[in-house]
Amino acid sequence: MSEGALAPNLIAFGRVLRRAGVPVGPAETLGAAEALRHVPLADRAAFRAALRATMIHRREYFEVFDAAFDLFWRNPEAPLGAFDPDEPPPESLPPAARRVSDAMPGAAPLAPPAAEPETREGAALAVSERERLNRLDFESMTAEELADAKREIRRLVLPLAERPTRRFRPDPSGPRTDLRATIRASMRLGGEIASISRRRRVTQAPPLVLLCDVSGSMAHYAQILLHFLHAVANHRARVHSFVFGTRLTNITRALRNRDPEVAFQAVSHILPDWSGGTRIGEALDRFNRLWARRVLGQGAVVLLITDGLDRGGAEGLSEAAERLSHSCRRLIWLNPLLRYAGFQPRAAGIRALLPHVHEHRQVHNLNSLRALVATLSAPAPNQGGSA
């Protein structure tokens, strides 16, 4: 097939990938076109590898890419055969392929992005009203009170105690001399060193990882805590958010949208099990194996938000929690059940979890969230500490 037919096909292929949720821009398509000049087009393996190396930048997208490739460049005899939009996609596809075939031309157009809801910066609440709201359990709030609480949550900032990095910035009262700047300054005086420039270590907030339980028993809290996650994720850099019920889902990218409603829509899109059962041990184990090494570097703090009520009989929970607590600098368990004065760690899940967390805190009303913010910004003990 000639180069002339190749270019439109590549552009169409790029569009298919984009509609299937893979970020592919003109730069990627151009790169692919250039790459195809260097590989034998009859070699299907090389053809696939060339497209993948230039258009895909993350392993997470391989599955979608492969499904799209097989569907789009369907005829293995003629790898450049154009996609036939009239042919219906085969039945019973795996999820990735389903997503791709939905994205193929001819499929129903995807829903347009939700219109920007106006962001209401609610007027500050009257003092007494606010006092009541602060102490009210999220569970017993009316819809209106919940809306107020959500607005209050958006105002919370979560400053983590900063850790020294190995970078420096100029600072006249810094503890270290900066020879490079000193010599450069001396040039203005013909080589006379009149003053010593100084520098100071840059400090930086550690990464924050949020693990939130969205199973049935947490349903009342999950909604509002998701607001909390969204507020935190948008307020600072290096936040990774996960939710779990029976499965673990990374919602970091979905939460990145500044508009909470759009963000939650994106979350519910990728979330398989709102308000189902919980298997905390399995979720933590999955997190340990798939994500811990990728997001827990550089002294990360983990907030685990769950009531500790495990559908699976707390199997493997103790081991997973122990591994998790070893992999991060601080593991903080936020537990809405802790609000009851007579809270006893009776459930198997709670007893399995408790020995391994560095802190166990309540999280059922605005005041408890504020207290959390206060402790997180205090300089943390380096490791250990009991619950």
């Binding site: 034998p40 070699d43 190396a53 392993r59 020879l179 490079r180 090494r293």
Partner: protein
């Protein structure tokens, strides 16, 4: 500043595959294609994969076979300009100021020029890769460096040039071949990814792993090699915290050979498990009957 022009690059995907093969690296078609494209298109190659899948090895073999001068930058947290790119030699600069003073030079610009001379600049890996004979720059474990360093790297990857404020811009005469590896202890930023050709280095299948073992550890008996590979492949299918990489398989095969074993047996396997698995939870899962069963399976698969 190049002392010699760069040796020619392999002309086709097949030639690239043969080149890697000649260097002792058993590459599949997709990897050979990506390497070939990175070389011909002059784009950096980003290799991601689990630890121990041979990412760094690809760069070393390429450097040896092309041949190119290998410049390696091992990344670490908080890596800054002075350890990655260049550093002014302040002691020698101060000395030069003294000398200028005693020689009675007080003209400012002349002094400044002589003080910010290339002589006083110490080259670190990034500058070394841009200056001198054609190089292969290996940026190893980029995920260990922090985000500000990645931002700095963008200039180098885009134009193969480095700007020293006091001196000016230094440009590579022959752009270096750039290979970046990442173990995903942190996600590498999209801006870097977009500039690179991306390849995920997966665990090899049993056939390729045996071929790798034969090249890297020829002293291992064939039967043992097949069993060790089958055993390691079995571990990767299950959900271990850290399944063994190819590097671990090679180490284990060598360890067993050093103990004069010609076949895999439960007792020695248990005693040497620490070569293969590096986490206590994983080792504990494999003790006793479970281990015997897996050794048995490896015998069947390897025969």
């Amino acid at each position: 500043m190049a002392e010699s022009s760069a040796p020619p690059l392999p002309a086709s995907v097949a030639a690239t595959q043969a080149l890697l093969e000649a260097g002792g690296y058993v590459a599949d078609r997709a990897l050979a294609t990506t390497v070939h494209l990175a070389l011909t298109m002059g784009r950096p190659l980003l290799l991601e994969g689990e630890p121990g899948t041979g990412k760094t090895e690809i760069a070393k073999v390429l450097a040896a076979q092309l041949p190119r001068r290998l410049v390696r930058l091992q990344c670490h947290d908080g890596m800054d300009l002075s350890s990655a790119a260049y550093e002014w030699n302040h002691a020698r600069q101060l000395m030069a100021i003294r000398l200028a003073e005693s020689a009675g030079v007080s003209e400012r610009q002349g002094l400044e020029r002589s003080l910010y001379d290339r002589r006083f600049l110490e080259a670190r890996p990034l500058l070394q890769a841009i200056e001198g004979s054609p190089a292969l720059l290996l940026i190893d474990e980029l995920d260990r460096a922090d985000e500000p360093f990645e931002a700095f790297l963008l200039e180098i990857l885009a134009d193969f040039q480095l700007t020293v404020p006091e001196l000016g811009t230094i440009r590579a005469e022959t752009p270096p071949v750039v290979v970046i590896t990442s173990n995903r202890t942190r996600e590498v930023h999209d801006a870097i990814r977009r500039r690179c050709l991306y390849h995920w280095v997966d665990y090899p299948d049993a056939g390729r792993e045996r071929a790798i073992l034969a090249r890297r550890a020829p002293e291992v008996p064939a039967a043992l090699s097949a069993q060790v590979v089958a055993f390691a492949q079995g571990l990767r299918g299950d959900e271990f915290f850290k399944p063994p990489g190819v590097a671990e398989t090679i180490d284990w095969a060598r360890a067993l050979t050093a103990l004069d074993k010609r076949e895999l047996e439960p007792a020695t396997a248990e005693a040497t498990l620490g070569v293969l698995l590096k986490y206590q939870d994983d080792i504990a899962r494999l003790r006793g009957a479970e281990l015997a069963r897996r050794v048995e399976e490896a015998h069947e698969a390897g025969s």
